[in-house]
């Protein structure tokens, strides 16, 4: 029983880590980023390149790729998202426009990755050593994913809820129309949020690449999973994403252990539907 709790939390940690970036981009910048998963895959490949080509550890890759993800996302926002933001008459229109443009972006990233790396399976082994957690053996790389998602999540919550800067971001998320009345630069806040999301996608990519096989076209799986977690947790809510991620990890593990591994997907969608029936805006969603 305890073994399944630990395994479930470790699995859920991955989901939470992947979903946090998307929830910030969606909740604060109002951009439904369908190319999120492909950004993760790009980070996976970058890590793999550094690991196999340059013999740099993925931890070091984290130090390089996370700021790179932030900077690149700023560029993407400036040149691709900003024109959409400027011309969108309301939030709904921006969401639709961003879905369309990021759907295109998804294929651009995928195309570049396919040209550079081909369509084959890529994987490597790092930190694949056993660690004993409460009597259960888990892989160090997965434990790192859980630790990172909890640490990043906690840091984000502190920043969002305890600093003036975070308050600005939350104000934009809560009332994008009214925020400028208080002298808040909404565009700047949205840009920052989008970039933080990009940096988190890179974090997820680096960590995932340590234990998961990836292909140039595999991004959509991550986007889907992240989307489920984001909606389940309530869009824009970091604690919601963490809780929902861990919940899904636990559900999958318990179903696999006590019912049937074949039913894990069905169980995830059942939980998803059931929770949305009770709380249409997700666990931490605004009514």
């Amino acid at each position: 029983m305890l073994e399944h709790v630990v395994n479930g939390l470790v699995l859920g940690g991955t989901y939470a880590l992947v979903a946090m970036g998307l929830t910030i981009q969606y909740g604060i910048a109002r951009i439904m980023n369908l190319s999120f998963g492909d950004t993760i895959i790009a980070a996976c490949f970058a890590t793999w390149l550094m690991f196999t080509g340059l013999a740099l550890s993925p931890i070091l890759a984290l130090v390089v790729l996370v700021p790179a993800g932030y900077a690149l996302s700023l560029v993407v926002y400036r040149f691709i998202m900003k024109p959409l933001v400027d011309r969108a008459p309301d939030e709904g229109a921006l969401e639709v426009d961003s879905i369309l443009v990021t759907f295109g972006l998804l294929f651009v990233i995928q195309g570049v990755l396919l040209t550079l790396f081909g369509g084959g399976y890529t994987s490597y082994s790092y930190l694949n050593s056993p660690v004993n957690v409460l009597g259960t053996t888990v892989a160090a790389n997965r434990l790192l994913a859980l630790a990172l998602s909890l640490a990043i999540g906690a840091a984000l919550v502190v920043v969002l809820f305890r600093t003036r800067w975070g308050m600005t971001l939350r104000a934009v998320a809560l009332a994008p129309q009214s925020a400028p009345l208080y002298g808040i630069d909404t565009n700047r806040a949205a840009r920052t949020a989008f970039a933080i999301g990009g940096a988190l996608a890179c974090t997820g990519g680096v960590v995932l690449s340590m234990f998961q096989t990836f292909t140039a076209t595999g991004g959509v799986v991550f986007t889907m999973k992240a989307l489920i977690v984001v909606i389940l947790g309530g869009k824009g809510s970091v604690p919601g994403a963490i809780l929902a991620g861990l919940l899904l990890g636990l559900v999958e593990t318990f179903v696999a252990a006590y019912i049937d591994p074949g039913l894990t997907l069905a169980a995830v969608y059942t939980v998803f539907l059931a929770l949305l029936l009770v709380r249409p805006n997700g666990l931490f969603g605004k009514a």
């Binding site: 550094m50 694949n128 892989a139 998961q212 999958e252 593990t253």
Partner: protein
């Protein structure tokens, strides 16, 4: 930081050059061919260059097409019965891993591009999808990367189809034979823990395995399927470990094969027989698993003492830039050699080539006397095991180009 950027740029550049070399080879081939317009053999194919099947295609099928075209054109082209030679001109489509797309592409190759020959796509499902079309237009269908028990039926229905990879029952029977011998030798008990991916390959294999294991007196004490999206196997391995079985069998796709290996290492799950699905015969597998994979079993295997096989492997590495897989690649390549030799004997007439493929004997990388039985290649390796860094073909006692299986599997390092 500057040196880091320089190094990264260097790595990217190396990758680009490698990609560019392959692209260049292809374009050289096609320009050389175009130079003698009307004097070429047009060969078309649709393969998955993107989408979920791209990984399999990119490993087993596409590199062999490239290698073969490059080799044939370097030698002056395909030889015809009168001794003249014609360069190969390639028309390639991406089926984007969509069955509708592969059918459309094959139809286009046949009706609009009017190619002389069509090479098959990757995967059982896709080969079945294009089989009726290939037969309708009279093209020899060399299904190289397709595992099916129905091959004898298909040969009756589409008499220009050829099946090179055997069926699920063949693979399962070979495994069962080894398991029975090991049980008699007292190495393993009569319990088997079995998992399979709920998709084409997994479903097919597990359907063949259940009755075969039962008939051989084994009890499958853990028998579960998992969705293709599964990435975490900690729980499945835990439950399989609790099942009391000495034999663990997973009919899995590469991402699962890699994940199962990594997590089995972490969990210290090391049953005497550890048998995995697609991916364990990839040359990158030991690297992905992080060290020794001694004793791991899977489908396929090669004979490292066979000079023809080893020459093919080094040529593949030289031209494509990486080693072929240790299961299907060589079968795909052999099928292309058989096509070239048939053309040399009977010319470009599709029906005559199909007839020659059915009845002729060929010199291929598999051996000097490669023959099809009822349009199927039967002399293939069903089971391989990692032994001393090689994925060698094994049988219960060895012999005939196969090594003796070594069990119980040693511990993970």
């Amino acid at each position: 930081m500057t040196s880091f950027i320089a190094e990264t740029a260097g790595a990217v550049r190396r990758l680009m050059t490698r990609g560019a070399t392959v692209a260049l080879l292809a374009s050289v081939a096609s320009t050389a061919a175009l130079a003698q317009e009307g004097d070429t053999v047009r060969i078309g194919y649709a393969v998955s260059k993107s989408g979920p099947n791209a990984g399999g295609s990119d490993m087993t099928v596409t590199p062999n097409y490239q290698l073969w075209v490059e080799e044939v054109n370097a030698a002056g082209g395909l030889t015809l019965p009168d001794g003249s030679q014609k360069m190969i001109e390639v028309i390639e489509y991406d089926d984007r891993s969509s069955a509708e797309e592969v059918v459309r592409a094959v139809e286009r190759l046949a009706t609009q591009d009017e190619v002389d020959f069509i090479l098959p796509p990757w995967g059982t499902g896709f080969n079945l999808a294009v089989a009726p079309l290939m037969a309708k237009f009279g093209y020899p269908h060399l299904a190289g990367a397709a595992v099916t028990d129905k091959a004898p039926d298909f040969v009756e229905r589409w008499d220009t189809s050829f099946w090179f990879m055997g069926g699920s029952v063949d693979y399962v029977d070979a495994l069962t034979e080894i398991l029975v011998a090991q049980r008699e030798a007292g190495t393993i008990n009569d319990q088997i823990a079995m998992v399979s991916v709920a998709d084409g390959f997994g479903i097919d294999l597990v359907k063949a395995a259940r009755p075969a294991f039962e008939a051989a007196g084994f009890e499958v004490s853990y028998d579960k399927t998992f969705p293709p999206e599964t990435s975490d196997f900690a729980t499945i391995l835990g439950e399989a470990g609790n099942a009391g079985a000495d034999t663990f069998v997973a009919f899995s796709y590469p991402p699962h094969t890699f994940a199962l290996t990594k997590q089995a290492k972490v969990a210290g799950f090391n049953p005497p027989v550890f048998y995995l699905g697609v991916g364990a015969a990839f040359p990158v597998y030991p690297g992905i698993a992080g060290g020794s994979v001694e004793g791991v079993m899977s489908l396929g295997g090669i004979d490292p003492n066979n000079e023809l096989t080893m020459a093919y492997r080094s040529k593949h590495e030289e031209v494509v830039g990486r080693a072929p897989d240790l299961w299907g690649s060589i079968l795909v390549y052999a099928s292309l050699q058989m096509l070239a030799q048939s053309i040399e004997r009977v010319g470009l007439d599709k029906a005559a080539v199909a007839n020659e493929l059915s009845t002729g004997s060929f010199s291929t990388v598999l051996g000097e006397e490669t023959r099809l039985e009822n349009n199927q290649l039967r002399a293939i390796n069903w089971i391989g095991q990692w032994q001393d860094g090689n994925f060698v073909a094994v049988s219960a006692d060895g012999g005939e180009g196969k090594a003796a299986v070594k069990l119980p599997k040693p511990g993970w390092e």
